[in-house]
Amino acid sequence: MKKLILYITLIIGSLAFIYPFYWMVTASLVPENEIESLTLLPHSISFNSYIQMFEKIPIGRAFFNSIFVATMVTGGVLVFCSMVGYALSRLRFVGRNLIFYIIIFTMTLPFQITLIPNYIIMVKLGWTDTFLALIVPYLINAFAIIMFRQVFQTIPQDLIDAARIDGCSELRIIFQILWPNIIPSLVTVGIITFMATWNEVLWPLIVIRDENLMTMPQLVTLFAVGGRAESQLGVKLASATILALPIVIAYLFFQKYFIQSMASAGMKE
């Protein structure tokens, strides 16, 4: 009996988390005037909302922009932060601990204080309305450095010594020797970085005004808030669905990795 109550709670809970998305998808697939009365099953299917959306905004371009930016940032974070993490964990040098403490400290710095000055820096460098503004500030991630440092500390020293004897440079050690041994961490940092970059919207709203360079969440936001959807609900929901689709598909396939990544990230906090 008690089990039954538990299952019912879980099922109600799951429905509460899934139904809104289901509603969104069906609402984007029905004719505009049916949305008001929609609950479970649509009466008629129409792709009109999607057709109009593709006509009104360059969503394909925004998709490409998001993919490009997220990939570059993720790649950059994996490369640069493992370099820094490696140095902090396996090399001895003056200032090693100082840098580590600075990293911890800056993690606590709220972004509200650096937001406006960073925008102004972009303006002064002439990077507004360029991919540089979207990518470069995100190439270093304190959290990633901490994670890599932690995992590199667990690598047995013999592995590194053997590679050194063979004449490998430090960079080769990191990327050719160590990386294959820390795949779970790479996946964790990779997934979290990719997801966070993909969903990032405040910064693009600030530094990008040119529609051709906007990221997908940014474009959808402006579409929803601005007047261009001409208050057609179905079109707005279609854009929201398209925005959600890539991450949800990735999530459905790599669910385990997503959840594990966030969980281990949370624990490291």
């Binding site: 879980l10 809970g13 799951s14 509460a16 899934i18 809104p20 509603w23 969104m24 949305i35 008001e36 609950t39 932060c81 820094v84 490696y86 140095a87 902090l88 040098f93 840098i99 800056t106 606590t108 710095l109 709220p110 509200q112 204080i113 650096t114 937001l115 406006i116 000055p117 960073n118 925008y119 102004i120 820096i121 500030p137 190439l139 270093i140 450095i145 430090e170 997801m195 969903n199 919207v201 405040l202 600030i206 936001t221 929803a224 808030v225 609900l233 707005k236 929901l237 929201a240 925005l243 959600a244 991450i247 999530y251 669910q255 959840i259 966030m262 969980a263 949370g266 624990m267 906090e269």
Partner: protein, 286 residues
């Protein structure tokens, strides 16, 4: 062999450069900006403490703080209770656990933009599902996003919906670290489920609860895209969040100096709140 001395510094250099350009310099520049008036295209104008004085006279600044507080008071307890409840249930011998876990976690990975647009419709006064349901059940409609007293609460509920999955997972991990012997010992002493929960589970997952509180607090002060999309800060500025206000002052009014000052003040308050929370919880632990 001779580059060994320089090498660590080379490896760390990306971080150091990034630190200088995107952290250290902005903080210093931010402080400099607070003493100036600037709209980007005209030259900067030094105004001393003008911005500071303006903050203290600014009703909207205090409104934003009040709104954030309102958000946190609803969001944090709700988050903890729901996440803990679901985690507790999932911790039992349940079949299909991966499915439920995946369902709860789904809103976490989806963009805040999608969630905001979606819930804006669900909360719609005439056509939203929630009010339609209430009508059919015989209750009156609720002004979820149009009632100045209700709007921030609605956003807090939505934020809970979006993030609770993450905390369910975190709590699950925490729950699973509790050694089963403790429970077995309690069983022997005849403790019921509630007593076990209160005296064994809760203290052991205190660090996780603490983390949830801190993360949610920081999240509350970072609220932007939700009010931006759903209400534009209204009705009557009841959903004007800290970051939204900074954004408006900077990019609608082009008061760069003033918005930097606001950022500075809000950052300071966040740090203060987090430190206080830390002290409070640490005292509780001892």
């Amino acid at each position: 062999m001779k580059n060994n001395k320089l090498l660590p510094y080379l490896l760390v250099s990306p971080y150091l450069i990034h630190l200088m350009v995107f952290v250290a310099f902005p903080v210093i520049f931010s402080i400099y900006l607070t003493f100036n008036k600037w709209n980007i295209i005209s030259p900067m104008e030094f105004i001393g403490f003008g911005n500071f004085l303006r903050v203290f006279q600014d009703a909207l600044f205090f409104k934003a703080l009040y709104n954030t507080l309102k958000f946190l008071i609803v969001h944090i307890p709700l988050q903890i209770i729901v996440a803990l409840l679901l985690a507790e249930i999932l911790n039992q011998k349940i079949k299909f656990r991966p499915f439920f876990r995946a369902a709860f976690f789904l809103p976490v990975v989806v963009s805040g933009v999608v969630v905001s647009m979606l819930w804006q419709q669900l909360y719609g006064f005439d056509t939203g599902i929630l009010n339609r349901m209430l009508s059919t059940l015989g209750f009156g409609k609720v002004g979820w996003l149009v009632d100045p007293n209700m709007a921030m609460v609605s956003i807090a509920v939505m934020a809970t919906w979006k993030n609770v999955g993450l905390y369910v997972i975190l709590f699950l991990v925490g729950l699973q670290t509790v050694p089963p012997q403790y429970y077995e010992a309690a069983d022997l002493e005849g403790a019921n489920h509630w007593q076990k929960f209160w005296h064994i589970t809760l203290p052991m997952i205190n660090p996780t609860i603490f983390m949830v509180v801190i993360l949610s607090t920081i999240g509350g002060f970072s609220l932007f895209i939700e009010p931006y999309i759903m209400t534009g800060g209204g009705p009557l500025n009841s959903t004007l969040s800290a970051v939204l206000y900074i954004y408006k002052q900077a990019f609608t009014n082009y008061h760069m100096g003033y918005s930097a000052t606001l950022g500075f003040f809000f950052a300071f308050i966040i740090l203060l709140v987090v430190v206080v929370q830390k002290r409070f919880i640490e005292k509780g632990e001892s």
